[in-house]
C-alpha cells in the first residue's frame, strides 16, 4: 500500500500539493466562519464602484457599452471566468437600464459562453426580449485582426463605456487608446503586469491584481464569494509570513529548509 502511494504521487510536486491543501482548508474554514459570524467589511474598489456610473452614463447618452475579454485568454483561464462573472453582472444592469451591450471576442468558445451568460442575465432581470444575440460575436483568432475588429467597432459604434476585462497582450494599449479617442469611459483589468501598466496610464479605472477576481463578489454581494475573498486575504498573510521567514533564513545563510523543499 505504502509503495503504491509512493509511485502514485509525483514527489517533486509535493510542495505544490501541500500549498493547495492549505489553500483549500483555508477556503472551507473561512467560509464556515463567515457563515457563523457574518461577512464583515470589504474595502471600496474604485473601478468596481464605477461600473454603475459607467452603465448609467451610457444609458443617459443613449450609447452602448462595449465589453471585451482580450486576446490572451481562453475559457480555461481563471481570468476569463472572472471576466465572464463581471459580464453577467454588467449584463443584468444593462438589461435593467435598457442599454445596449456589445461583446466582441477572439475565441469562439468564449463567444458561446458569453452569449449564454448575457442571455441568462437578461432572462433573470425579466427582459429577455432586449437580448440581441448579434451583439455577441466572434471576430478572429489573429491577435491584431482582433485588435482591428474591436478598434473598428469602437470607432463606428462610438460606445459611451468600454470595459477591457480579461487577459490582454499587445492589443491592450491599441484598444484603450482608441476608446479614449472616442471619449468613452474605460474600466480595465488584466492579469498581465506588463499590460496593466498601459491600462493604468490610458484608462479611467483599472482593476489591479486580485481586484479583477474579487469583482463578482464585490458586485453581487454574495456571502459565499465574499468569504472566498476573505480566505484569499488569509492566504496572503501566510505568504507574507513565509516571505519574511525566507528573507531571515537567506540573510543568515540557513539553507536546510530550502534544500529539503528543492
Amino acid at each position: 500500500m505504502k509503495g503504491l502511494i509512493f509511485t502514485f504521487i509525483i514527489w517533486e510536486r509535493l510542495p505544490v500539493l501541500i500549498g493547495t491543501v492549505i489553500c483549500i482548508a483555508i477556503f472551507f474554514i473561512v467560509t464556515y466562519l463567515v457563515k457563523k459570524k457574518g461577512i464583515g467589511k470589504i474595502r471600496k474598489v474604485a473601478g468596481l464602484a464605477a461600473v454603475d456610473e459607467a452603465i448609467g452614463r451610457a444609458t443617459e447618452m443613449g450609447k452602448p457599452v462595449l465589453f471585451t475579454p482580450g486576446w490572451g485568454g481562453d475559457i480555461q483561464r481563471p481570468t476569463t471566468i472572472a471576466a465572464l462573472n463581471i459580464l453577467n453582472l454588467v449584463a443584468e444592469k444593462t438589461a435593467e437600464y435598457n442599454c445596449e451591450l456589445i461583446f466582441p471576442t477572439h475565441d469562439p468558445v468564449i463567444m458561446s459562453a458569453a452569449e449564454e451568460t448575457i442571455q441568462n442575465a437578461y432572462i433573470h432581470t425579466g427582459h429577455p426580449d432586449q437580448f440581441r444575440p448579434d451583439n455577441v460575436y466572434y471576430t478572429t483568432t489573429s491577435q491584431f485582426g482582433y485588435a482591428a475588429a474591436v478598434d473598428g467597432a469602437i470607432t463606428r459604434i462610438n460606445p459611451a463605456t468600454v470595459m477591457l476585462l480579461g487577459t490582454f497582450e499587445g492589443e491592450a494599449l491599441i484598444l484603450a487608446e482608441t476608446a479614449n479617442l472616442v471619449g468613452a469611459m474605460q474600466i480595465a483589468g488584466t492579469d498581465s503586469t506588463i499590460q496593466l501598466a498601459f491600462f493604468l496610464v490610458a484608462c479611467d479605472y483599472t482593476l489591479i491584481g486580485e481586484e479583477l477576481f474579487a469583482a463578482s463578489g464585490y458586485l453581487s454581494k454574495d456571502e459565499k464569494i465574499i468569504s472566498s475573498i476573505k480566505a484569499q486575504d488569509y492566504m496572503k498573510i501566510i505568504i507574507v509570513i513565509l516571505l519574511l521567514a525566507g528573507a531571515v533564513l537567506a540573510t543568515f545563510h540557513i539553507d536546510t529548509l530550502k534544500e529539503a523543499i528543492m
Partner: protein, 206 residues
C-alpha cells in the same frame, strides 16, 4: 438543470484535473490526454458557430444595406475566397492561400502592431503629466529609466544608468511581485469557486 449540469461537469473535471496534476498514474494521464483532445473538438465546433455568426451578422448588414455594408461584403468575400483556396489548392508554400496570407494578412497585422508606437507616445503624454505628487514621482522615475536605457544617459552621467537599473530591479520588481501574488491567489480562489460550484454567474446561475 440548465445550471446544475454545467456545475456538476465543472466539479467532476475540476477535481479530476487537480488530482491528476499530482499523480503519475498512467490511466489518469491517458484520461487527461483524452480530455484535452475533446477540448480541441469542442473548439472546432464552436469555431464553426463563430464563423456562422460572422456570416449571419454581415449578411444582415448587406441585405439591409446598413452603414458600411460594403465592408461586410468584403469580409464575406475574404472568408469565402480563403476557404475555397485553402480547400482546393492547399496551404503549403507557393499556394495562393499562403501568398494572400503573407502579402495581405501579415502586412495588415504589422500595420496594426505599428500603431502601438503612436499609442505609447499618446498614453505616455497623458500618463506622465505633472498633475499631482504621485504623477510627479511617475514622471521623474520614467525620465530616469528612459535616460538610463539609452546612450545619452551614459553621456550625461554614469550615475543615471545605475539608478535606472536599481529602479527596475528593486521597486519595480517588488510592485510586480506583489501584483503577481494577488493575481495568483485570485486565480486559485476563482478556480476553487468554480470547481466547488460557489461561483455560478458565468453559467447564469445565482
Amino acid at each position: 438543470m440548465k445550471t446544475r449540469l454545467p456545475i456538476a461537469i465543472c466539479f467532476i473535471f475540476g477535481i479530476f484535473t487537480l488530482i491528476q496534476y499530482f499523480t503519475s498514474d498512467p490511466t489518469m494521464a491517458l484520461i487527461y490526454a483524452e480530455i484535452l483532445d475533446w477540448m480541441q473538438i469542442i473548439f472546432v465546433f464552436t469555431l464553426l458557430v463563430g464563423v456562422v455568426t460572422i456570416f449571419k451578422i454581415h449578411s444582415i448588414k448587406i441585405a439591409r444595406q446598413q452603414n458600411n455594408w460594403p465592408y461586410s461584403l468584403l469580409t464575406i468575400i475574404g472568408i469565402a475566397v480563403m476557404a475555397i483556396l485553402g480547400f482546393t489548392r492547399g496551404t503549403d508554400w507557393g499556394s495562393p492561400f499562403l501568398w494572400i496570407f503573407m502579402n495581405i494578412q501579415v502586412p495588415m497585422q504589422s500595420t496594426m502592431f505599428a500603431l502601438l508606437a503612436f499609442y505609447v507616445a499618446s498614453a505616455a503624454y497623458r500618463g506622465f503629466r505633472f498633475r499631482n505628487k504621485e504623477a510627479a514621482v511617475l514622471l521623474i522615475t520614467a525620465i530616469i529609466v528612459m535616460l538610463g536605457r539609452v546612450p545619452l544617459g551614459h553621456q550625461i552621467s554614469d550615475f543615471i544608468p545605475r539608478v535606472a537599473e536599481w529602479i527596475i530591479d528593486n521597486p519595480s520588481v517588488a510592485a510586480k511581485r506583489g501584483i503577481l501574488i494577488g493575481i495568483g491567489l485570485g486565480s486559485i480562489t476563482t478556480a476553487l469557486r468554480v470547481i466547488l460550484g460557489v461561483e455560478r454567474s458565468y453559467v447564469g446561475g445565482k
